[in-house]
């Protein structure tokens, strides 16, 4: 049942990403070249809607949060390494899968590279877990916890900031 739900969820998400064009190389590089913010609009819209729904359901005690721990060095270093690779391949793991679905053969090469990268990481893991992954383990913290503020205040500010950013994108034609 879990597997079937995963497939259905992926089907809808893949459909929506293709219809909004966000899986394309030109759209991802368009954002990284600060020329076309389509993928940022898509991602932030998902985050803004998801944030309200998930926190509402969490306050009602219906769902659990799933926070990844903030290992300072690993998240920053890994995030920067990811970004360099992303700028080169032009797809992230999710969008490469979608791009393959609409026939982009370079995405297949990217995914092959991603499999190799995952294998290399598995080999490096013992050494990394004894070093970088240990540096600055700050635990599973959220922004409201870190700032000591109510989550709805932060959500409100986040949505306001997002709306202002969208307004600015549209004004500048990005």
């Amino acid at each position: 049942m879990k597997l079937l739900l995963g497939l259905i969820t992926g089907l809808i998400f893949g459909y929506l990403m293709q219809r909004a064009r966000v899986i394309r190389y030109d759209k991802q590089l368009g954002a990284l070249r600060l020329q076309d913010m389509t993928i940022v609009k898509f991602m932030l819209s998902t985050v803004m809607v998801g944030m309200v729904g998930v926190y509402l359901l969490h306050d009602l005690g219906v769902v659990k949060l799933s926070i990844k721990s903030f290992d300072l060095a690993a998240v920053i270093l890994g995030g920067l390494i990811f970004g360099l690779g992303w700028g080169l391949v032009g797809y992230c793991p999710g969008t490469a899968s979608g791009a393959l679905g609409e026939g982009r053969l370079d995405a297949a090469w990217g995914m092959l590279g991603m499999l190799v990268g995952a294998g290399l990481y598995a080999e490096a893991y013992p050494a990394l877990s004894a070093s970088v992954l240990k540096w600055g383990q700050l635990g599973k913290i959220t922004l409201p916890q870190a700032l000591g503020l109510n989550h709805w205040l932060i959500i409100g500010l986040f949505i306001l900031a997002g709306a202002l950013l969208f307004w600015w994108f549209e004004k500048k034609g990005l």
Partner: protein, 174 residues
């Protein structure tokens, strides 16, 4: 290049709908979106064909076992969902070189394939070190206001902008 006959969905609408799908997924299946762990599991499955003892001893494959789970089916769903969207809107194209890349480097398939492969290796290594990709950290982490997700997302884009600039040079010209 080839302009598609289909009209794209607004990224705000498609992103917002994706947010609703994510909320439903968390509610029904207890699952947040993610993609990069699937590449670890798949790499493990492939390595299992050649060196099962090696995989059995690797600490990372013990943590992320080589098996098909919810997220694996989710990523498969993205490929199929995008395929369905592309076929039903007539926007399926077998293409080896994206337009923007062709404008900068020409239509050579080998150089684009090589760059996509190398970028894929680097991106996945970084994503695993950071503990997630733009789906797991960027969407799921950010919408839960996880500090790890928000910091990772900023790092993804910062380094991505740097790489895009290295490849395409400064300035907004296409």
């Amino acid at each position: 290049m080839d302009e598609h006959k289909d009209k794209p969905l607004s990224p705000y609408l498609a992103g917002g709908l994706s947010g609703l799908v994510l909320i439903a997924s968390v509610w029904i299946a207890g699952k947040y979106f993610g993609a990069s762990t699937t590449f670890v599991r798949s790499a493990g499955m492939i390595e299992n064909l050649f060196a099962p003892e090696h995989v059995a001893q690797n600490a990372y494959f013990l943590k992320e076992a080589p098996l098909v789970d919810w997220q694996w089916m989710f990523v498969l769903g993205i490929i199929i969902g995008s395929l369905i969207a592309a076929l039903t809107t007539g926007s399926f194209r077998l293409r080896a070189v994206p337009d923007m890349w062709q404008g900068r480097f020409g239509s050579g398939r080998a150089s684009r394939a090589g760059a996509a492969f190398l970028g894929g290796v680097v991106a996945m290594f970084g994503a695993r070190l950071a503990g997630g990709c733009p789906s797991g950290h960027g969407l799921s982490g950010s919408l839960q206001l996880a500090v790890s997700g928000l910091v990772a997302l900023v790092c993804f884009f910062l380094a991505g902008v740097v790489m895009a600039r290295l490849i395409y040079g400064p300035g907004g010209g296409r």
